[in-house]
């Protein structure tokens, strides 16, 4: 059958037409072999544009379509659907990207036009060799894995569970709650953080659709959208969850105090058998093997002796579970910037310099000081408090990005000091105040009214070297006050470092495990920063909360819900269409050398023992083409990317 190809060149308003002679390209296309019709339109993606293609398909009986427009990332689905509607197999449509790869990056109009012609010629040559293909459909497993039990993960899990879908929620720590559980108040409304969080934690713990695996970590993941298998390690708690009643007697009787560097941010202690806080979910404690006297010396067992439920299990071992899920939501959160990287701020050398999370715990009524704001001696009330903004943020020596939440929580800290120590003076050292969401700027104004001193200048150093009698035995904050253009030395009793948000330490490992990518900063990369902020480039893997970028509670909740909505949509559809881009083996040509088995990153190729020939497991193949490139006898080809098609495209591009 002779080729009858239609070529449609888009102006994209002025986006393409400014650099490329669109009409010239269309005239050129008409001269190419097999081209039956060549047209141009100001917006091919518009309804009239699509109808133009559909009409030609019906009236002229085209055998292939080339659309020269933007990136296939944006509109390939649009034009495939248009072809499908008019009865052409969608895989007989090819796009030539003459915008992102041509008009936007080639300044000289003559060169841009030549390049566009070459791209169109390549696509025309290629489409002549393309084969009709059918996407394959696979059912979606209704269960979703949510990784991380902070507020974003909790929200996502509850949304899905409430919609009737099963969820497995995995949390590394003994309890869910994340950083939000550590906070005292939330800005700008000053809601008690625990009061608004614990009902949600309870709901997770009691929800019939949620399998909660705390003190657990995901170790591996395989499969593809709709059909993942994840391997989860449940660390030994040494406490039987089905027997423990959460009475806490074990924690009272345990003789070992341990500095709690996680929940109390290093400001308080816990026991060697512990549940991080009173409202923990689940409330089954864990034994910290590293610090337990019994594990260290072989005797003690105080917890076991006093446990009324007989729940202590000394020989418990880690348990490894393989769970099938259809989708994955990563909500792995952030970690606080470690201010010891800025030695001139003195943290860990000067005792009355605190991190923001330490201060949160200090303000918390259930924290180490029962909510009293005191110096490191545990008794003295500070009279002058400095709050240093942008610690580790907006600084190319550490992190160039803004951590989003520090300005607002610094204002909240100032408010808490005013509230609890009305006689104290508070000095906020800021670069800019960033308070751009609902109610935030108003909160800043409230603090101005409360009498907080705002000093515009990045703190240079926190010193313990006095120069005047007033500075004796105090911390001196050195900064340039840029509003008055002078250096200032401010003696204070307490300094709070408003540390920025950083990705978790193991973020790159996690990204690799789930086949997604991280930005240079280490935050997970979304599929599109504006239009698809919770999806990733891997189908079926979504992200929510501070693992995507610094953000506050309300954004984390919104992202958790958004990710859940995306997943629910997929589940309710019941199946997904997968691109029919698969490797196939021509058994007659296969030599059985096994080179492809070694190169396949997805273990999707096996050797048929009966015939000594390679065989591709369709469900595992991702169509990456590595095997096709590695196959010496050229027995493997990749559908939609066959050698013939690629060579034809290259010939078209090079005009040979």
């Amino acid at each position: 059958m002779a080729d009858k190809i239609g070529v449609y060149v888009c102006h994209c308003g002025s986006n393409i037409a400014d650099a490329v002679d669109v009409e010239g390209v269309a005239r050129f296309a008409a001269t190419l072999r097999g081209v039956a019709v060549s047209r141009h339109d100001s917006f091919m993606c518009s309804q009239p544009g699509q109808e133009l293609i559909e009409a030609d398909l019906r009236e002229l009986g085209l055998t292939g379509v080339v659309v020269a427009a933007c990136s296939p990332q944006l509109h390939e689905p649009t034009f495939r659907r248009a072809c499908g509607r008019a009865g052409l197999n969608p895989y007989l449509m090819e796009m030539a990207n003459i915008r992102e790869q041509c008009s936007w990056v080639t300044l000289d109009p003559a060169a841009a036009t030549e390049k566009a012609k070459a791209l169109v010629a390549g696509a025309v040559h290629r489409v002549a060799c393309q084969q009709p293909l059918e996407p394959h459909r696979v059912p979606i497993h209704p269960r979703t894995l949510v990784v991380g039990g902070g507020i974003a993960g909790i929200q996502a899990a509850l949304e899905l569970a409430d919609a009737g879908y099963p969820v497995t929620l995995v949390e590394r720590e003994p309890s869910i709650g994340g950083h939000m559980a550590q906070l005292d108040k939330t800005f700008p409304t000053l809601d008690c953080s625990a009061c608004i969080l614990t009902p949600k934690m309870m709901a997770v713990g009691q929800h019939p659709n949620i399998q909660l695996l705390s003190y657990s970590e995901v170790e591996g993941s395989s499969g593809y959208v709709g059909n993942f298998v994840v391997r989860i390690r449940r660390k030994a708690r040494y406490v039987a969850e089905d027997k423990c009643t959460g009475c806490e007697i074990c924690q009272q009787k345990c003789p070992v105090w341990v500095e709690d560097k996680v929940f109390e941010a290093g400001l308080g202690f816990r026991k060697a058998i512990y549940s991080p806080f009173a409202q923990a979910v689940p409330n089954t404690p864990v034994i910290d093997r590293e610090n337990c006297v019994y594990f260290e010396r072989g005797k003690c067992k105080a917890c076991e002796i006093f446990c009324p439920a007989g729940a202590i299990v000394w020989d418990q071992e880690d348990e490894v579970l393989d769970i099938e899920v259809g989708n994955i939501i990563l909500a792995t959160g952030y970690r606080l910037f470690d201010p010891r990287r800025i030695p001139q701020y003195g943290y860990s050398r000067l005792e009355n310099v605190f991190t923001s999370l330490e201060f949160e715990r200090m303000c918390n009524a259930a924290g180490p000081t029962a909510g009293r704001i005191v110096l490191r001696d545990g008794m003295t009330r500070p009279q002058r408090v400095a709050i240093v903004h942008c610690v580790g943020s907006r600084d190319r020596n550490y992190n160039a990005y803004c951590s989003d939440v520090c300005c607002m929580y610094s204002l909240k800290f100032a408010h808490l000091v005013h509230e609890r120590l009305p006689e104290a003076e508070v000095y906020n050292f800021y670069i800019d105040i960033r308070s751009s969401r609902k109610g935030y700027e108003e909160f800043y104004h409230r603090l101005l009214d409360e009498g907080t001193h705002f000093i515009r200048g990045k703190v240079a150093r926190i010193s313990d070297v006095p120069e005047t009698p007033e500075e004796e035995d105090r911390l001196i904050v050195e900064a340039e006050d840029t509003l008055i253009g002078r250096q200032r030395r401010l003696p204070v009793d307490m300094v709070i470092l408003s540390c920025g948000l950083e990705p978790q330490a193991d973020v790159r490992q996690v990204a690799r495990r789930f086949g997604i990518s991280c930005s240079q900063n280490g935050f997970f990369i979304e599929r599109h920063p504006k239009l698809d902020p919770v999806a990733t480039t891997t189908d079926g893997v979504f992200i929510a909360g501070a693992c995507q970028g610094p953000q506050d509670i309300q954004s984390a909740v919104a992202q958790g819900a958004a990710a859940a909505a995306r997943v629910a949509g997929l589940i309710s559809r019941g199946e997904v269409q997968l691109e029919p881009v698969l490797a196939t083996v021509d058994e007659a040509a296969c030599s059985g050398c096994e080179e492809c088995l070694l190169t396949c990153p997805y273990s999707a190729i096996e050797l048929r023992p009966d015939r000594d020939k390679a065989h591709v497991i369709a469900a595992l193949c991702k169509g990456c083409g590595v095997c096709a490139a590695a196959c010496l006898p050229k027995a493997i080809s990749l559908s939609h990317y066959t050698d013939e098609q690629l060579v034809a495209q290259a010939k078209g591009l090079l005009n040979v």
Partner: protein, 145 residues
């Protein structure tokens, strides 16, 4: 110091060229490089201060600042001997610029002298001629560029 460094940079962006080059701020810089290692925008502040000093001298906009006079005396000494000559430098600088201060500093100088820490005669390198030729050529090249 009439302007802080950040204001000076803002003035540069505002196009206040002559005012910037007349500023005495760069001449107060002790070149301790704290700003350079701490600047959140990685601005090489110390090097910029050096550059502003050079420009203000070249453009003749540098007023009567002590640092500039000192630099001149220093350059003159090195040009003559190839080495710095502390006694000569101090006397040359103070006699010509700050005769009164010389008296105040005399005690310090005498203390140093007693400890044998002041050279009474300049120490010269052997190839002063070659050095001067190098500097002359460098100066000619910078004029040409």
């Amino acid at each position: 110091m009439d302007h802080t460094p950040s204001r000076l940079f803002a003035m540069i962006q505002a196009g206040l060229r002559d005012e910037v080059l007349r500023s005495n701020t760069p001449w107060f810089c002790v070149a301790c490089y704290y700003c350079t290692v701490r600047c959140p925008q990685e601005v090489p502040v110390t090097d910029l201060m050096y550059a502003l000093k050079r420009l203000s001298v070249q453009q003749g906009l540098c007023g009567q600042v002590d640092g500039r006079d000192f630099a001149r005396s220093f350059v003159g000494t090195v040009e003559r001997y190839g080495r710095s000559f502390e006694l000569g430098l101090a006397t040359r600088y103070y006699f010509t610029r700050r005769p009164l201060r010389l008296l105040r500093l005399a005690a310090t100088g005498l203390g140093m002298l007693r400890k044998g820490r002041v050279g009474l005669r300049p120490e010269s390198i052997r190839d002063v001629k070659g050095l001067r030729a190098i500097l002359r050529r460098a100066r000619a090249l910078s004029g040409a560029t």
